[in-house]
């Protein structure tokens, strides 16, 4: 399943980032950060063409030897980035999409919390649990 899930604000600072193998946390941070380049590229390319289609899924951003990085952007330009182990071939585009949808819904719930200040780091336990479930769940 996903090894790293990150929510990144419009301004590109992390709202939430978690990865499962803790020792590689730094690597995932770098990876997610670097993948923002591609996200930006895709968003600006999408800018004109896909505004109406509302396609939020950005697809594979950034394949590396060991991991695949997928991206998703909400309408408010908050980016969801998911890193998946390359060896996990069971994950197809559709699964990734549905995972992003779940993540997006959960993020929306966080935003609906009146006590949550948009732009703050996400500390919601519900969101955390959801991310945990996505990290361990085997498709």
């Amino acid at each position: 399943m996903a090894v790293c899930i990150a929510v990144i604000a419009k301004e590109n600072y992390p709202l939430y980032i978690r990865s499962t193998p803790m020792e590689n946390e730094l690597k995932f941070h770098y990876m997610v950060h670097t993948s923002l380049d591609v996200v930006d590229e895709k968003i600006s390319a999408m800018g004109k063409a896909l505004v109406d289609q509302r396609e939020l899924y950005l697809g594979l951003l950034y394949p590396t030897e060991d991991y695949k990085v997928y991206g998703f952007v909400t309408n408010s330009k908050v980016k969801l980035v998911m890193v998946v182990d390359s060896s996990n071939t069971a994950l197809r585009d559709n699964e990734i999409r549905s995972m992003f949808r779940k993540l997006h819904n959960s993020y929306t719930d966080v935003m609906c919390n009146p006590f949550y200040n948009p732009g703050d780091r996400i500390q919601s336990r519900a969101f955390d649990n959801m991310v945990t479930s996505m990290m361990i769940q085997v498709c």
């Binding site: 301004e11 600072y13 992390p14 730094l26 590229e41 394949p63 390359s86 060896s87 071939t89």
Partner: protein, 1214 residues
């Protein structure tokens, strides 16, 4: 030619190439042959025979044999061509018609398919006929060829599918299948259907990948084990040849490794893609391929020597890139960097790891183990391919060179890295560029050239900081710290160290290490005394809050101010700080109201604690660290009527939000910190800051009055200064100086006269120090006493209202001066004490003394006060106090209120007279009244005032009245006016024993004309013969006015006329019925001349009619003096003075002249008064004083019976 295909596939134009070979039986495909390229699609039998005999003899047999062979191989695609030659024909004109041979052949062989036989006539001649036959032949040939091709291709595809379906069977081999499907791909390629060819390879690719995946999932296929053999050769992709026959053969021999298979497959795909003009897809697929190969090798657990894959990937990357470059021009490449940059970066990465692996990066160079490894790796590359030998920059050469020496590696690695960074930058992938830059920096650090590494690290750090990525920031900073250490950038290193030491993402040990670095620098002996390192404070410690004592942050000059602040140390270990200093800016604002001592002591933060927003430094980036909007409602009201003009919302911190974002340059730079030199510094030395919150206390002696603003906070550890350049929010404390002041104010809302009242004295010492022996000198006032019995104690407060001590107060009184000795008090304290004062109760109405201090205000003022209702009469006492600090006296006014209001009235009963005094308590207190006396001050000897009151004590409650009555008795003729004084002792009812005797309350008044002159008696009589009066019937009213006295002093006025012997006065009577019970018929008033003699009686008879039944009160009869018109002025004055003493008129509020006259004229019902104002010579009426007339029939009632003819009974009860 157009190619129509089955399964609804779109028709395509294809180019089909064919070879003509001589027929041999062994060439015919056997069952199971899979070669499609060499497949005989169409068999053609050529014959020149034109002779029937020859035909019959040889050709027919030959044809039959040929046909049989074909049939045996189940081939139905054949064509017989009969070549006709005119020349030959001419030779044998005698034989059968030339068509016969063709017909024969058609008959013999083409029984159904007549088109299988074509005639080609005179092929070598140039005639239209020849042309025609050639055309027909060729068309036929194409059609048939294509037909056969289509059929065979379909069959081949079907066979292939069948073969694929067998893949689960044990003996199935992927390599065999591969060859079959590749055959198809070749055909398509040959047909120039590259798209279709590519599809074949993609299918193979996908199939293989799926097998690998399944293998990973435990579902291994036998044939896959061939691919699992250890990798021995890693010589990269070869893309220069269209078909890598070498690898293909390996495949056919089932000796290919996974890398071989992949390489071959990709080289084919690449070739096809390049045919299709899609070089960018090559790049993209190449990256995918490389990644997946690495994955697959791992998945299949293939034994790979370390570094071999890196070599393979590196070579492949470069090969792909060079291949793409070879087929595109520069501009195309530049505009498609986005596709190739991934390969570049991958190659860089791989070269780097190779470098690390082979010890080419370390400072010392490779050791023997590294060299062995290098040799192994180079051996795995094999020999260079012949096709690239001539190329100078071939990937093979590059890799070999790079691995050969440290210098060469550095050159190649730098080239690659720079190229990659440049490409990333040019397409705007800044983050990726920074990431590669960081790798490069790492390399430089390894190579001991930190000066080159620094800029890359700084660049990356700036990027991470700007976007708030905590972990990368920490990591990069750590690298930067090492770099700066090598570079010897002391300040930068210390700053980075301090940042790292406070970084919570590091482990405790690491933080301690950096902290130790910092401290050990600080511990070094200072080489040059002035040298110091200024660092920003936020990483070292953060200011949490600040607490002033006194809490309002206001001190008087000379006072002590202590300031306690909470500093949250970010260091992991306790740090001993030499000194913490606060720079203070001093400003004098003389004229501002803010600086007055009163304002200062009242305002400011109530608890004296100022909280500082936690600096969430430095992680949340500039965007998020913007302060939240501070919105406030705004109302603008018009100044005149306070109506709302405008309303809106304003943002209070616009200046914060809208200011230009500072460009990131100053994020790390120490240049932003400037030390301020201020004359005023608060210091605190030798503090040890524990990790976490620490409290640091400062004390200062306030000197000059003014405002002190805390500007900078600076902690010094040896030569290291941590400076907080701005303290925000602004923190200030104020120093003031104050003049001594004295306040005197009553304890209660108002002071009551007559009883002891407490007054509080407050001495604010200000800058004056009260010494022993200093005293307040109160100049005494007669009407107000300062009571100074017993012990008085004074309480001394500090300026912030904290009680500090109390002292006994010495009060000495002489007849002129009361002296209050003040206790010794330091400056800026408050002495508070209470004294009792007693104002003498005064009868307000009577006193006519001169206006000296302590005397009541003139009665005019009292009158004004009374107008607002029954409120207390007040007296102001002015008290002059001499203070020790001033040569001027302080004059203080105290206002006392009279708790009582007293009124009197005269009551008559015939000739007997009573005086009634009403005492009304206006205050909130209850009183006890005692010893009420009424004394005649006129001194008429024969007058007796007999009290009719209870002699005992009486209580008078708040807002209540008490009445006292005395009977007047006299023996001789009474005086016309009686001056009386009412006196009454009083004391508060709740009183404990009072130590002093209170002065009684006195009230003086004058009673005039109290002697009864006339009695009026009215009587209503029913008509004669009737027992009772009836409504509606006239009754007679008899009024008799009787004079009771002879001529007296009071009669001597203008109305008195003197005839021969007796005096006469004119009176006017008037019958008025205010209750509308009676209708007065005829004249209701008249003037009579009354003889001034005792028992002189005048009777008047009138007719009245009762209007209601019941007991009706009699109509009023009023008497007036009828005065002639002259001397209006004097009488006017008389009337005024009389009115003032009349209780009735007081009740009616004789506010002004107009009211007065209306009261007077009310009784008369004439416009006499107004006439008088106009100055007309008209007679005037003057009501007789109440005392002079006694109406003996007041209160009598008469029974009236309803009229008989009335059916409605109306009873009015009054």
């Amino acid at each position: 030619m157009e190619w129509r295909r089955s399964y609804g596939r779109a028709p395509k134009m294809i180019h089909l190439e064919s070879n003509f070979v001589q027929f041999k039986e062994e060439l015919l495909p056997k069952e199971g042959n899979k070669a499609l390229l060499t497949f005989p699609f169409l068999h053609i039998y050529w014959t020149e025979c034109c002779d029937t005999e020859v035909y019959k003899a040889t050709v027919k047999d030959d044809l039959t044999k040929w046909q049989n062979v074909l049939k045996a191989h189940s081939s139905v695609d054949w064509l017989i061509v009969v070549v006709e030659n005119d020349a030959k024909k001419k030779n044998k004109t005698n034989i059968l018609p030339r068509t016969s041979i063709v017909d024969k052949i058609r008959n013999d062989f083409c029984n159904k398919q007549s088109d299988r036989c074509v005639v080609l006539s005179d092929p070598l001649k140039d005639s239209s006929r020849t042309q025609e036959s050639w055309n027909a032949f060729l068309t036929k040939l194409r059609t048939l060829l294509l037909m056969s091709f289509t059929k065979n291709l379909g069959k081949f595809e079907d066979d292939m599918r069948t073969l694929r379906e067998k893949r689960t069977e044990p003996g199935w081999s992927f390599c065999d299948y591969f060859m079959v499907q590749e055959e198809l791909a070749f055909v398509f390629e040959m047909l120039q259907q590259f798209e279709d060819a590519l599809v074949q390879y993609d299918e193979l690719d996908a199939l293989f990948s799926q097998y690998v995946v399944n293998f990973g999932a435990g579902d291994g296929a036998n044939w896959l084990t061939f691919f699992c053999q250890p990798v021995k050769s890693w010589n990269g992709l070869v893309l220069r040849k269209p078909i890598d026959m070498e690898k293909r053969e390996l495949m056919q021999r089932r000796e290919a490794t996974l890398l071989d298979l992949r390489s071959y497959l990709f080289s084919r795909q690449c070739t096809l893609l390049l045919f299709l003009q899609r070089p960018w897809e090559v790049a993209q697929r190449a990256l995918e391929l490389l990644h997946s190969c690495v994955q697959e090798l791992r998945l299949l657990e293939v034994l790979v020597p370390p570094g071999a894959l890196d070599c393979w990937v590196f070579l492949s990357c470069l090969e792909v890139l060079q291949r793409i470059e070879g087929c595109c021009d520069r501009a195309q490449i530049d505009s498609n960097i986005a596709h190739t940059v991934g390969l570049w970066s991958y190659a860089t990465e791989k070269l780097k790891s190779l470098g690390y692996l082979c010890g080419l990066v370390s400072e010392k160079g490779p050791d023997s183990e590294d060299l062995n490894r290098t040799v192994d790796l180079l051996a795995g590359l094999g020999a260079e391919r012949p096709e690239t030998v001539s190329t100078a920059q071939s990937p093979y050469k590059k890799l070999k060179e790079a691995l050969s020496s440290v210098e060469a590696f550095e050159k190649h690695y730098l080239d690659l890295s720079h190229a990659t960074i440049e490409m990333y930058t040019s397409i705007g992938r800044i983050r990726s560029a920074k990431f590669v830059g960081k790798d490069l920096a790492e390399f430089y650090m390894r190579k001991r050239s930190p000066q080159k590494a620094e800029s890359y690290l700084q660049g990356a750090l700036k990027n991470y900081l700007a976007e708030g990525w905590a972990l990368p920031v920490t990591h990069t900073r750590k690298q930067l710290a090492e770099c700066q250490k090598h570079l010897g950038q002391v300040e930068n290193y210390l700053q980075t160290s301090s940042l790292l030491a406070s970084d919570h993402h590091l482990t405790e040990e690491e933080r301690k290490y950096f902290c130790q670095e910092l401290l050990s620098f600080a511990g070094w002996p200072v080489d040059s005394p002035g040298h110091k390192v200024v660092l920003p404070m936020h990483s070292f410690a953060q200011l949490r809050d600040l607490h002033f004592d006194p809490p309002n942050a206001v001190v008087h000059a000379g006072g002590t101010l202590s300031l306690e602040m909470t500093v949250c140390s970010q260091m992991p270990v306790p740090v001993c700080v030499d000194q913490i200093a606060i720079n203070v800016h001093f400003s004098i604002e003389k004229n501002s109201y803010r600086k007055t001592a009163e304002w200062l002591t009242k305002h400011k933060t109530p608890n004296g604690i100022i909280h500082f927003p936690a600096e969430v430094s430095p992680l949340p980036p500039a965007q998020s660290s913007l302060p939240a909007l501070e919105l406030a409602e705004m109302f603008e009201r018009s100044p005149s009527d306070n109506a709302l003009n405008t309303t809106g919302i304003i943002c209070r911190n616009v200046h914060m939000l809208l200011r230009r974002q500072e460009s990131g340059s100053s994020l790390e730079g120490p240049s932003g910190v400037a030390l301020e030199d201020g004359a005023h510094v608060l210091r605190c030395s030798g503090v040890t800051l524990e990790p976490g919150a620490n409290r640091v206390a400062f004390r200062t002696q306030a000197k000059e009055p003014g405002t002190y603003t805390l500007r900078q906070l600076c902690a010094t550890v040896g030569p290291v200064w941590f400076v907080l350049p701005h303290i925000y929010p602004i923190v200030q404390y104020d120093v003031y100086s104050q003049e001594p002041q004295l306040h005197v104010e009553p304890l209660a809302d108002s002071l009551l006269a007559g009883i002891p009242q407490k007054v509080r004295f407050t001495v604010t010492t200000g800058h004056y120090t009260v010494k022993n022996g200093d005293s307040l000198q109160l100049s005494n006032v007669e009407a107000m006493l300062v009571l100074c019995q017993g012990e008085n104690s004074a309480v001394i407060y500090s300026n912030s209202r904290e009680e500090s001590s109390s002292a006994v107060l010495q009060v000495q009184s002489s007849d002129k001066v009361t002296s209050i000795g003040l206790p010794a008090t330091p400056a800026y304290h408050v002495i508070e004490f209470e004294l009792e004062v007693l104002s003498l109760p005064l009868a307000p109405a009577s006193s006519r003394e001169s206006d000296t201090p302590g005397t009541p205000e003139p009665p005019r003022k009292q009158k004004d006060r009374q107008r607002a209702g029954p409120c207390m009469v007040t007296t102001d006492h002015k008290l002059s106090i001499d203070c020790p600090w001033s040569i001027y006296s302080t004059v203080i006014a105290l206002t006392f209120s009279m708790p009582f209001r007293t009124t009197h009235s005269l009551l008559s009963a015939g000739t007997r007279k009573y005086v009634q005094v009403c005492v009304q308590n206006l205050s909130e207190l209850d009183f006890q009244l005692a010893e009420s006396h009424l004394v005649d001050t006129g001194g008429a000897a024969d007058l007796h005032l007999t009290p009719l009151n209870a002699p005992s004590l009486q209580h008078i409650h708040s807002k209540q009245s008490v009445f006292f009555v005395w009977e007047l008795k006299w023996t001789q003729e009474p005086p016309p006016a009686l001056r009386c004084q009412f006196s009454m002792g009083f004391s508060p009812a709740s009183a404990e024993q009072l130590s002093i005797s209170l002065k009684p309350y006195t009230y003086e008044f004058q009673v005039e004309n109290f002697f009864t002159l006339y009695t009026v008696k009215a009587e209503v009589l029913p008509p004669a013969g009737v027992e009772h009066c009836r409504t509606g019937s006239l009754c007679s009213l008899e009024v008799s006015i009787t004079r009771l006295a002879d001529l007296l002093e009071v009669d001597r006025d203008e109305a008195l006329t003197e005839s021969d012997e007796y005096f006469c006065t004119k009176l006017m009577y008037e019958v008025v019925d205010n209750t509308s019970n009676w209708a007065v018929c005829g004249k209701s008033c008249g003037v009579i001349s009354m003889p001034v003699a005792a028992q002189a009686t005048h009777r008047v008879h009138m007719e009245v009619m009762p209007l209601f039944a019941g007991y009706l009160p009699l109509p009023d009869v009023r008497l007036f003096k009828y005065l002639p018109h002259h001397s209006a002025h004097s009488s006017q004055l008389d009337a005024d003075s009389w009115i003032e003493n009349d209780s009735l008129s007081v009740d009616k509020h004789p506010d002004d002249q107009l009211d007065c006259s209306s009261v007077r004229s009310r009784g008369s019902a004439h416009s006499a008064a107004s006439g008088e104002h106009k100055g007309l010579p008209m007679p005037r009426l003057q009501a007789l004083p109440t005392g002079q007339v006694f109406n003996s029939s007041t209160g009598t009632q008469i029974l009236v019976i309803p009229g008989q003819d009335d059916h409605v009974l109306e009873i009015s009860v009054t």
